[in-house]
């Protein structure tokens, strides 16, 4: 049985950063990922990463923008840590070979991003995530004597000992079907978000909320789950993301009448207001009949106002996207866009060292909720979140591991999981198909838990999720093989997504106000008197069928009192 000081599940930016920090601290590390590390979804991050590195900037200003962007739901102690450690982290990345954009004089260049009071987004053209992920992976190679990589291993459950401590996990080797128990002193979840519970989404096929669900089943609280980010510029043609960098470079948003409608909502910041604000404005234009396109379901993103050479230099990936996927030359004509599901602000509740409610279990990155994003994440703050809290989790987990013996694990869970998979394979072909249920889930979540929400819709959404949870129990698959059986994984992922969806609708129904991305047409105002706290969701009791339980958790305030939010 593999045994390590620190076991990391997930090899995106958060997982790899955690692995490097733990290895740096001298720990033996295992990093396990269901896809090859450089295919992790972090690779898709386009626009950049925030840090107050400009001499005229100050991390406090970055922190305030983040607090305001979160609609005062973010925890200010965590935000202060993230923003003050940001410049050092950028230096570190630059140092290990990330080619951040340089200006004509050879110095670091920064671009404007939504909700930020000045230019503070460092970027690598519009392939920032890919550039950082590949360089971190190179670093991981450097530590190959201390870091064991388990690539294409799928985590099926977390292990706890009698004292309730997390002591590792069970995983399935995707290539061979072998099931194995992994023993560890500390376990870090870095499995990313749950975008696939929505359709369409900008998230890749692997973003199925596995870690959130695993932690939930292990007894941890999920927090801020009602806060789902809709990104303002996803291509109507196919849901792909057009980076906020496009607006950062000066692109306009227009309605059918050619008006820059953001004038009404954010006279100062215009297109660069916070994402929740821009998405709401677009959705309003569309709902009120001022949308464009055959279905009037879009607004136009006009990149033609940005100088062409700048577009080709700094936005080259989206030029290709427009050309390949929509047949549009974005340097010549505007491209139809609309809000699309993009990010889960909520996740497994952690403290500033990544520790969750379950001893020995950490979470970092999109799977976690520290909470630095609160009700709405600012663009380019997520990559920062993954790195800062990935690093801190890795360090903390390694330090704790240094002071303890390897805990004991039993094989009981391994047997349970093996049996569960065999049960899935043996199901009679009478129920629904996995893909059908997934499709219905995605469409329903996108209908009832989108930019605008209300009691009636969300109640319907919740009913659907509950029904799908039942149907998933008999959903069948066809592949009975062991080698590369993607169907089995699909069935397990569906279960994870349903857990997360349940938490999302439960929390969203509960919060009777509008805050950040959670915008209700039946409670249109923010209500600090009654709702200035986090909502958490946990399992009430053991077992897969345990109902969801809601609780409150306080928000940490340090220096900024809630104020009205204008852009």
């Amino acid at each position: 049985m593999p045994a390590h000081d620190v076991l990391i599940i997930g090899a995106g930016l958060a997982g790899q950063r955690a692995a490097l920090a733990a290895a740096d601290a001298g720990a033996s590390v295992a990093i396990l990922s269901k896809v090859h590390p450089v295919r992790s979804h972090s690779v898709a991050a386009a626009g950049g990463i925030n840090a107050a590195i400009n001499p005229d900037d100050d991390w406090r200003s970055h922190a305030f923008d983040t607090v305001k962007g979160s609609d005062y739901l973010g925890d200010q102690d965590a935000i202060e840590i993230m923003c003050s450690e940001a410049p050092g982290e950028i230096m570190h990345l630059e140092h290990i070979g990330v080619t951040f954009h340089r200006n004509d004089t050879g110095h670091l260049d920064l671009r404007a991003f939504g909700g930020a009071s000045m230019k503070r987004t460092a970027y690598v053209a519009d392939i920032t995530g890919q550039a950082i992920l590949h360089v971190l992976y190179e670093q991981l190679m450097k530590y190959s004597d201390r870091v064991d990589r388990y690539e294409e291993w799928f985590n099926t459950s977390l292990l706890k000992d009698d004292s309730g401590r997390c002591v590792g996990c069970v995983a399935r080797n995707i290539r061979t079907g072998e099931m194995r128990t992994f023993n560890a002193k500390s376990t870090i979840l870095a499995t990313g978000g749950v975008g696939q519970a929505f359709k369409p989404t900008t998230n890749g096929l692997i973003c199925t909320g596995d870690g959130m669900s695993l932690a939930y089943r292990a007894g941890a609280r999920l927090m801020d789950m009602e806060m789902i980010q809709y990104h303002p510029t996803t291509m109507t043609a196919n849901g792909f993301l057009i980076t906020e960098g496009a607006r950062g470079e000066g692109a306009h948003l227009l309605n059918a009448a050619g008006e820059r409608f953001m004038e009404k909502d954010a006279p100062n910041k215009m297109e660069l207001a916070s994402r929740d604000v821009v998405s709401r404005a677009e959705q309003r234009e569309i709902n009120e009949g001022r949308g464009t396109g055959p279905l009037k379901d879009s607004v136009l993103l006009d990149v033609t106002v940005v100088p062409k050479n700048r577009v080709l230099e700094a936005l080259r990936e989206i030029v290709n996207l427009g050309r390949d996927f929509a047949g549009i030359d974005i340097t010549k004509e505007p491209i139809p866009v609309r809000p699309g599901q993009h990010y889960t602000m909520g996740g497994v509740k952690t403290d500033v060292n990544g520790e969750t409610d379950v001893p020995g279990l950490y979470a970092a990155g999109e799977v976690a909720c520290v909470s630095v994003h609160g009700g709405n994440r600012l663009g380019a703050n997520s990559l920062l979140d993954t790195l800062i809290f990935g690093k801190r989790s890795g360090q903390h987990a390694a330090a704790v591991a240094g002071e303890m013996q390897m805990p004991k694990v039993s094989d009981a869970q391994l047997r349970d999981d093996t049996r569960h998979i065999q049960d899935i394979i043996n199901r009679p072909k009478t129920g629904r198909r996995i893909s059908e249920i997934k499709e219905e889930l995605g469409v329903s979540m996108n209908q009832y838990c989108a930019v605008f929400r209300d009691e009636e819709g969300m109640t319907k959404g919740k009913e659907i999720v509950t029904r799908l949870q039942e149907e998933a129990k008999t959903a069948y698959i066809d592949d009975a093989g062991t080698v590369f059986n993607q169907d089995v994984l699909g069935a397990l992922e569906l279960g994870f997504m349903l857990d997360c969806s349940e938490a999302i609708v439960t929390a969203a129904l509960e919060r009777k106000e509008s805050r950040g991305a959670h915008s209700r047409t039946d409670y249109t105002e923010r209500n600090d008197e009654d709702w200035l706290f986090h909502l958490t969701v946990s399992q009430d009791g053991e077992g897969a069928d345990a109902p969801a339980k809601l609780d409150k958790a306080p928000i940490t305030f340090t220096q900024w009192e809630p104020m009205e939010r204008t852009y």
Binding site: H41, V43, T99, Y150
Partner: protein, 257 residues
């Protein structure tokens, strides 16, 4: 649109493979190649047969996971990733051959999915910057000129998909390795291990069983990131320079499991 597909099926690495004929009907020209395969899989599952295994994740051309040889061309007829290939690019009624990326160094895992960990071992042999101790200089104290920055960026853009290897008649990994070397060896941070890096990476490339470059240029012509053949020139220069200095030293190898 209707197509006849000749798809490579192989149950596992050690079993022999074969082409299987499948027919797909009423395909939307705007569907991507992978969406077409998704529909086929739905169909197969509905009929109680095993779906076709293939790799994909982001489906927007950035993660480097998708990897099919379509009608003999890695990633298909256009110079984009497989996930960016559309059915409208094929003639209605035609037969389409779908195979995995083929190379001795990339064994088939199942059907169309291959194991590309040989690339990882090339990186492991030296494709990183190893300076980690001491205070970190402000990047602005080491300006990078726009020209160098551009050269580096044009190489760092590699997504590690392996199409270059699949396209090369010799199965060489020179474009991939050249891109890594061009990225790291041009940067100020990459200078200390410049020679060692070139020596070790080239050595590892040979160990993995990749072939040598004889200048066909196919790699660059199929590269979805349009990485230029000049990175191979850079690799050769760096290797020659390094060979003049010292003998290779091989760091301990570690296995990805």
């Amino acid at each position: 649109m209707n197509f006849q597909l000749e798809i490579w099926r192989q149950d596992s690495r050690d079993q022999p493979g074969r082409f299987e004929t499948k027919h797909v009907q009423d395909v939307d020209g705007e569907a991507s190649f992978l969406e077409m395969l998704d529909t086929l899989n739905e169909d197969l599952v509905g009929k109680g047969s095993r779906s076709v295994a293939f790799d994909s994740d982001c489906r927007e051309g950035i993660c480097g996971m998708c990897s099919l040889v379509i009608n003999g061309m890695p990633h298909g007829p256009n110079q984009v990733t497989t996930c960016q290939t559309y059915m409208r690019d094929f003639e209605d009624g035609s037969t389409i051959y779908v195979e995995p990326f083929r190379n001795n160094a990339f064994p088939v895992v199942r059907d169309l999915a291959v194991d590309r960990s040989a690339f990882d071992r090339i990186i492991e042999s030296g494709g990183y910057v190893s300076v980690t101790t001491g205070p970190q200089p402000d990047p602005n104290s080491q300006p990078v000129t726009p020209e160098v920055h551009q050269t580096v960026m044009d190489a760092a853009i590699c997504i590690g998909c392996g199409a270059c290897v699949a396209a090369c008649p010799n199965g060489a990994a020179m474009l991939f390795t050249g891109a890594k070397i061009t990225h790291l060896n041009n940067l100020p941070q990459g200078q200390p291990e410049r020679d060692e890096r070139a020596r070790n990476m080239v050595h590892q490339m040979d160990e993995e069983g990749f072939g040598g470059c004889t200048n066909f240029g196919e790699c660059s012509r199929v590269c979805p990131q349009e990485i230029g053949i000049d990175v191979i020139g850079m690799l050769n220069r760096e290797y020659r320079r390094a060979s003049r200095t010292k003998k290779p030293s091989h760091p301990k190898k570690m296995v990805a499991q």
